[in-house]
Amino acid sequence: MIQKKNIIIIMHKPMPGSIVLWIFLIVGIIIILVFWSVYRKSRDGSRHISNPEKIRLVIFLGIALISAIYTIFTLPKNPYFSYAEKLPDKVILVEARMFNWNLSGPVDDIRPGDVVEFRVTSSDVNHGFGLYNPEGIIIAQVQAMPGYENRLRVRFEKPGNYTILCMEYCGAAHSYMSGKISVR
């Protein structure tokens, strides 16, 4: 139960993309510095690492450990179980069709704090249901695949106009396939 609570907290606020970008940049800069320092020591032929196999083992174990810890912490934080322990406040059926979003259910009746379940499918090709907050940042997404129904649960925190964009290329008007959800 405690674990499920964690899932709620995390998936309610997915890791912001800007933090992922910072992690990428910091690790990237570290890699560049390592390469730069090795390059600087590559001209005179005067040095060598005395025990490379030991260092290799340390690097291997270090990376394996970081990967294992990261995986253990991140695997439970997935969208498949979001808010799985409770009934959703609203259920909205989403049918994607080139190049529109057909929403049915209490679309005009979503309040801040509501957990909404979107049952997403497509009646033609693959689409992607991408939910953007009023600031233009994606807060949740799921694929819309013909013949299948994907269920996505989202809690709407703030009032405002949320935009739906298509997240799977679906043809010439893909970029224009948008919808609106108002939370008030």
Binding site: I10, M11, P14, M15, P16, G17, S18, V20, F24, I31, V34, F35, V38, K41, S42, R43, G45, S46, H48, I49, R56, I59, F60, I63, A64, S67, T71, T74, K77, N78, P79, D124, V125, N126, G128, Y132, G136, I137, I138, I139, A140, Q141, V142, Q143, M145, P146, G147, Y148, T163, L165, C166, M167, E168, G171, A172, A173, H174, S175, Y176, S178
Partner: protein
């Protein structure tokens, strides 16, 4: 072998540059600086993706085929077949896109081709052209594998005796990596064959479209596509193992037990990594989703601990002749690693929830491809022309400059992705309008990259033409 390699280099670089121009046109259109019709944009997108992999994969194959002559009687006619089939395949794709109006993206995700405004014949011709490319590459891969197996029994080529603790006879790392990679290539080409057969069955079954399972088709599409581009990179890595010791005047690398374990493991793990393309299909079995993340995270561990460390240990404290070839390889490995960081961040389900199909995806694969795979290819090309007597010691600034502008180009993708700008858009709506400005900067950086690659191309193509016509050798 020299002449066909020279022919590959000339053809490959010309097609590559053409595809770069298409890429720049897309970024200019997304920035709103030029007006590109949406249909035209997605035709270019389709061509850019297919054309790039369609030429960079065989160009990487041509490199390893050339170096394979150092060990075995390297196959010539499968190479020539690969060339013929690649050229025919790419010409047919050009034809389907610009005459037939095909705009389904490289992945022709079932059942999009039925619904897109594409001529029926274009879809069929498109499948034929993919089949031609696949057949040519299959013959070529099988030919190379066959020539390796004539000299090295399979267990020795795969270094299994090293895993068992036996050190002699040593399997050269180049042979080991090439063998496992070729097996991986053949496996994903078989997935491609399955995909095309299913498509053909569907077309025959025209009265009843929607007969195939879209989830199965999506799995097959990415098993084929993702694995192929992944293996393409390992072809470049094989050349790294072959050439790097000589750059630092060191003896050739020997396969140790951990090298054999790593390179037996990597192609196997990579087969399961493609699952990360389906994280946002919640109906996919949950086990596959978790295997996807775990496989995506395991794959880079041996790459870092074995390949990266070996290369850095070779360079550190040595006397390296920093010519164009070694610079391209060294920087290629750097960006392979940086692209890997971008990739595994996206291959984490929790992150993928907000990054899936944003511009983060082209960000990471352009890091791998443009600055990784293309750099490995340029590295072996520089080495090849140096063997032909064209020295490039004064030109190591060129890979460095391409890296600076290339990274600028790619960074615009990463920032866009982090701020939720979706991929495969010809126009960014107001809600994601930051994408427009970043696309503009991306186009500027990419233009510099194009100019620098053009300099490189002029330099090496003129040298390759000399090799091509040098009948005496």
């Amino acid at each position: 072998m020299k002449r066909i390699t020279a022919l590959w280099i000339i053809t490959g670089l010309i097609i590559f540059q053409l595809m770069v121009i298409f890429g720049i046109l897309m970024r200019l259109g997304q920035a709103g600086l030029i007006n590109v019709d949406p249909l035209r944009h997605f035709q270019i997108l389709t061509l850019h993706g297919l054309g790039m992999v369609g030429i960079l994969f065989p160009l990487a194959m041509a490199g390893v085929n050339y170096f394979l002559t150092r060990y075995v009687n390297s196959p010539l006619w499968p190479n020539a077949t690969g060339y013929l089939f690649t050229v025919i395949g790419i010409v047919l794709i050009l034809f389907t896109v610009f005459i037939g109006g095909l705009h389904t993206g490289w992945y022709f995700l079932y059942p999009l081709p039925y619904f897109a405004r594409t001529e029926q014949w274009a879809t069929i011709l498109f499948l034929i052209s993919i089949a031609i490319l696949g057949t040519g590459w299959f013959i070529w891969s099988a030919g190379m594998l066959g020539s390796i197996l004539k000299r090295y029994p399979l267990f020795r080529a795969l270094g299994w005796h090293h895993i068992a603790g036996i050190t002699e006879p040593n399997t050269p790392p180049f042979i080991l990596i090439l063998t496992t990679t070729l097996i991986g290539v053949i496996t994903c080409l078989i997935a491609g064959v399955a995909l095309i057969i299913l498509w053909i069955m569907e077309i025959i079954n025209m009265g009843n479209p929607g007969w195939l399972d879209p989830l199965l088709m999506k799995n097959l599409t990415f098993l084929f596509g993702h694995t192929l581009v992944n293996e393409m990179l390992y072809l470049g890595v094989a050349s790294v193992y072959e050439l790097f010791p000589s750059f630092a005047d060191k003896p050739p690398y020997r396969t140790k037990s951990y090298v054999a374990i790593a390179w037996n493991l990597i192609p196997l793990v990579v087969l399961f990594a493609y699952f990360h393309h389906l994280y946002m299909d919640f109906v996919q079995p949950l086990t596959f989703q978790f295997i996807g993340q775990i496989a995506s995270w395991i794959a880079p561990i041996p790459a870092v601990a074995v390949t990266l460390f070996t290369v850095l240990n070779t360079v550190y404290g040595s006397r390296v002749r920093w010519d164009m070839s070694v610079s391209f390889f060294f920087l290629g490995i750097l960006f392979w690693m940086i692209g890997g960081v971008g990739a595994i961040l996206d291959a984490t389900i929790a992150n993928n929830f907000i990054l899936h199909n944003t511009l983060w995806v082209p960000a990471h694969f352009h890091t791998y491809n443009l600055l990784g795979n293309v750099f490995f290819t340029c590295g072996y090309i520089s080495y090849f022309i140096a063997e032909g007597g064209v020295n490039s010691r004064g030109m190591s600034w060129l890979p460095f400059l391409i890296s600076i502008f290339g990274f600028g180009f790619i960074l615009m993708f990463y920032i866009s992705g982090a701020y939720s700008v979706p991929r495969r858009y010809n126009f960014y709506p107001d809600i994601v309008s930051t994408g427009r400005l970043l696309a503009g900067w991306g186009a500027i950086f990419a233009t510099f990259v194009f100019i620098l690659f053009a300099l490189f191309s002029v330099y090496v193509i003129s040298a390759s033409i000399k090799i091509l016509w040098d009948r005496g050798k």
